[in-house]
């Protein structure tokens, strides 16, 4: 009987160990943290870690999480997609027409990120291990508070006085501020408009092309139209109905319909 019990216990332990990584997803501080832990299983210097092997391990981790129906945060999935892409780059011969960074460059950067995160973890631990004020060393317990002889002098001049009075006497001259709502293109209006337009936006088109005709020229009207159209576009991206891209800082934003999956 004890043997059976032991065996059972071993099986449980084995299963737990296998699931620990996945089940403990709550305890992870993001995908890099998972990668760092996975890299330890390779038992090599972080500088020599096999990024390809790591990418595979991570993809298994995500698959396993899916199988166990564990909801992974979006950034875990983004990392999985990126690693799958990296894996294909590392495995396939480089395409000479491709201008993007090579698989090796991308892998080297990931290795650097992991090494840097590991270094910061260690640095944090060393920092916290230092002697700390109030725990290992102490400040003067009975500071002799400086006796301050404080004389307060109040200041006000005639101008202050007159302006204060004028402020009171001219209250009726002021009107509360009202926004002039007529030159605001609301987010609701923009969303309504964009929903009508996305059907035609098969090719990439700049944000400015989506502005209503009447709102394109006057700078004030144009500004509000851009803001609400952009917000509406983000909403549609969130709903998975549009795609948005920007090539560089301050480059024009481009939008298009998202092809049905």
């Amino acid at each position: 009987m004890p043997d059976d019990f032991m065996q059972e216990q071993n099986e449980i332990n084995a299963r737990r160990a296998a699931e620990a990584l996945v089940v403990d997803v709550e305890g992870f501080e993001g995908p890099l943290d998972v990668l760092l832990l996975l890299s330890r299983t390779q038992k090599v210097d972080l500088r020599q870690v096999s990024i390809l092997a790591l990418a595979e391990q991570y993809l298994v981790f995500v698959e396993e999480a899916k199988r166990l129906r564990i909801e992974l945060a979006a950034d875990y999935l983004v990392m999985a997609a990126w690693l799958a892409f990296l894996k294909s780059r590392l495995l396939l011969p480089p395409d000479p027409k491709d201008e993007g960074p090579s698989g090796e460059e991308m892998a080297a950067h990931l290795a650097f990120q992991l090494e840097r995160l590991e270094a910061m973890r260690k640095a944090a631990a060393r920092l916290m291990a230092r002697d700390q004020l109030g725990r290992d060393f102490f400040l003067r317990g009975q500071a002799e508070i400086y006796t301050r002889k404080k004389t307060i002098r109040y200041e006000a001049n005639l101008l202050d006085l007159m302006q204060a009075y004028a402020r009171i006497k001219t209250k009726e001259d002021f009107e509360p501020l009202h926004y002039q709502r007529d030159s605001i293109f609301t987010m609701e209006q923009a969303l309504e408009r964009m929903k009508g337009l996305i059907g035609e936006a098969i090719e990439w088109g700049e944000l400015s092309q989506f502005l209503p005709e009447a709102w394109r020229n006057d700078p004030k009207r144009r500004r509000t139209a851009i803001a609400s159209t952009f917000a509406a576009a983000l909403e549609l991206v969130k709903e998975g109905r549009m795609e948005i891209r920007q090539y560089d800082n301050f480059a024009p934003l481009q939008l298009r319909q998202r092809a049905a999956p």
């Binding site: 102490f138 400040l139 003067r140 317990g141 009975q142 002799e144 400086y146 006796t147 301050r148 002889k149 404080k150 004389t151 307060i152 002098r153 109040y154 200041e155 006000a156 001049n157 005639l158 101008l159 202050d160 006085l161 007159m162 302006q163 204060a164 009075y165 004028a166 402020r167 009171i168 006497k169 001219t170 209250k171 002021f174 009107e175 509360p176 501020l177």
Partner: protein, 210 residues
Amino acid sequence: MIPDENLESLFEAPPMAEQERMVEALLFASSAPMSLREIEARLPHGCAPAEALVHLGKRYEGRGVALRRIDDAWAFRTAPDLGFLMQKEQVEHRKLSRAAIETLAIVAYHQPVTRAEIEEIRGVSVSRGTLDMLIELAWVKLGRRKMTPGRPITFIVTQTFLDHFGLETPRDLPGVRELRAAGLLDNRPPPGTLLPEMEAEDEDQEDMFE
């Protein structure tokens, strides 16, 4: 023999120089003077704080800090002859709060004026503290009672007020029209601040002086 000696030394009190350091640190960090018994309770077993205190007292003789006995307890205190360094005379200039300057202006322009009248003009209630403070500054004083029901007290400005603001009489105060002509009204406050609810809040939260 050697293990025995080692064992004994585990229970031996630290050397006197070390005990002195310990008492020094303890008294420095303590938030109140410590009695001999309290010191002893904190030191390793077998220490002789009374002796350590004698050494410590000698070490601080003539320094900027002195070991002092207060009743039956001990503490560090800065040397009495250096007390002047710890003191600092400060003259703080403070601007009158908006509530105070407005109240003062109303008293000046409308005197003699009752509290109810001030409130009506400002559109918000006037806290007791505001008038008290102006009276304490000797810029406002009590005037005669008004011959209306309830015989409310009135407020007027003082000679000190006139001196401070360089006026001969309250009649020298310029009128609103002149203020506007002089361009003094162009500096309009942001419109939001004029909503009466906000001002009422203002007065509650604001300290007398800002």
